[in-house]
């Protein structure tokens, strides 16, 4: 892709919307995941007694939280894929369609 085509797509409002939305969404989810993980590690490192608290019989809070961290990783990636494969890919298609002539010429 030559610089003029790149600059043109960069200026496209739909590209800017795509770029801004996706970057915000990606970093938000990253921060959520980091907060969950380092929060869990901090609990383990600084409040180990809480990990052993019983929730129901021998099932402890630590066990429930540990499984919850694993499930949260799966759910967060699922949410990202769902939105990216829908909204983001749709926007990408539109950006490509609006610049199809330049892209053809550039090839």
């Amino acid at each position: 892709m030559d610089d003029r085509t790149a600059a043109r797509i960069r200026a496209n409002p739909k590209f800017q919307l795509l770029e801004r939305t996706r970057r915000g969404f990606g970093w938000t989810l990253t921060i959520v995941m980091l907060a969950i993980y380092y929060g869990f590690i901090a609990l383990v490192a600084f409040f180990p007694a809480m990990i052993g608290q019983s929730v129901s019989g021998s099932i402890t809070l630590g066990l429930v939280l540990g499984i919850a961290v694993i499930l949260s990783a799966i759910v967060l990636t699922g949410v990202y894929v769902w939105r990216a494969n829908g909204q983001f890919d749709e926007l990408t298609r539109e950006v490509v369609a609006e610049n199809v002539r330049e892209l053809e010429l550039a090839r």
Binding site: M1, A6, L18, Y37, I51, G62, T77, V81, V96
Partner: protein, 552 residues
Amino acid sequence: MIRSVLPVLLALLTTQAAQAAGPAVDAGTRQPTNWTAIAMFVGFVVLTLIITAWAAKRTRSTKDFYSAGGKITGFQNGVAIAGDYMSAASFLGISALVYAWGYDGLIYSIGFLVGWPIIMFLMAEPLRNLGKFTFADVVSYRLSATPMRAMAATGTLVTVAFYLIAQMVGAGQLIELLFGLPYAYAVVIVGVLMILYVTFGGMIATTWVQIIKAGLLLAGATLMSVLVLATFNFDVNALLAKAIEVHPKHGAIMLPGPQVANPISAISLGTALMFGTAGLPHILMRFFTVKDAKEARKSVFWATTLIGYFYILTFIIGFGAIVLVSTNPQFLDASKQLLGGGNMAAVHLANAVGGNLMLGFISAVAFATILAVVSGLTLSGASAVSHDIYASVIRKGKVSDGSEIFVSKVTTVILGVVAIVLGIVFEKVNVAFMVGLAFAVAASANFPVLLLSMLWRGLTTWGAFIGGFVGLISAVALTVLSPGIWTAVLGLSNAPFPYTSPAIFTMPLSFLVCFVVSKLDNSRTAQRERLAFEAQYVRSQTGIGAEGAVVH
């Protein structure tokens, strides 16, 4: 000298834990030759060799050889990624950790899992949209090709070498135990089979071997977990209560143990595991086997789901082993230790819940696992030499597909022979630190350069080159100065660097050096590289012009 059975376990363990979880293995504990296991393993080898022959006919271009022609689907690739990640060490090592310490095993497996969402949110799409065969393609996209490829290939080879030595030593020890074969034979068998898969079948064979093995491993672990839970009428509470009752540490197995006693070590190790994943070259390479960013995303989702599910299973298996193995004298020696060492908890459990047939199956799956993982590692090391160094740096891209593949195959054979030799030479080394080192190098050298090259306009060749090497050298140096090598291997007292993993210091250091050097770099080249970010960014965001993409 403590020799842990499973090298990969080491990734998970501090020295003290390795000593506790993996008692010394000597020739006297070798198992009697297990014919059921050998028969099942031979069955697996025959099947995979047939696949390799099939794949060889379909491997014509470099694109076929390095990236399976980009024809792997998102789901298939997700299974293969999960397969690369669920090494024998994960399976035997984490269940052994749960068996010995309880809750600590869960803490480690979580550290291994949470890198995946980060890869998804920040890296999967630009990586797929910019790369061709190796992650060096991405970092050299707008930066000077020669220094960046040299840097990325060095990072790849160092990571692969440590990981490969660990896997080979682990393979030898595991096979010695499981099949009753001598150590050196086992290492040679693994090396030769791996050379066959990679040289003849390239990425197509490597991927399918990985998919089959991942399926077998997940099926085996699921079956064992169901059998364990069935013993307790699917009452998890009863399983835990019984485990607490019979384990020598009793209630303490539900609490954080010695592995995480030092918060800085815990956080540093967690950092290495989390971001190291995003810098492992054999994992990054898998993103180029799918056709577009959408399939790359699906790959990460399936990989995360399968790996998360698998870690929950290893926890059930570890607790099952506490209840069913530690109470059965059949599996213990005179001092109440597990026969064959601490890492055999899952293997003995297979016998306890499913008899000899299940034991044979799980043993064969563990061997297959090592074979598949070393194949992926070797292919990634070979591609760094043939694609990055030979084709791009030495021949400046003027090279035919045929001669590039030839160089790759020769490199594979050399790497295979080197791996066999190192596997035999390092038989007695504590491999835990090899794996820990591989993750620390990946997190401190490969990951910062890769992430910044994709997301930060300001990165220049000088910044990336110096930052990457500072990360690489500091990670290796601090590991040598840490208790794992300084005290345990070199026999010196008072390790200058007291923590398990250097990543919490070396990864930020690498980012900082990349940033500062790039900011100071005002050469003409640097200015051109910043300008070139625009076109790279548009391609990374939209996939326009990406390898294999079609513009309508």
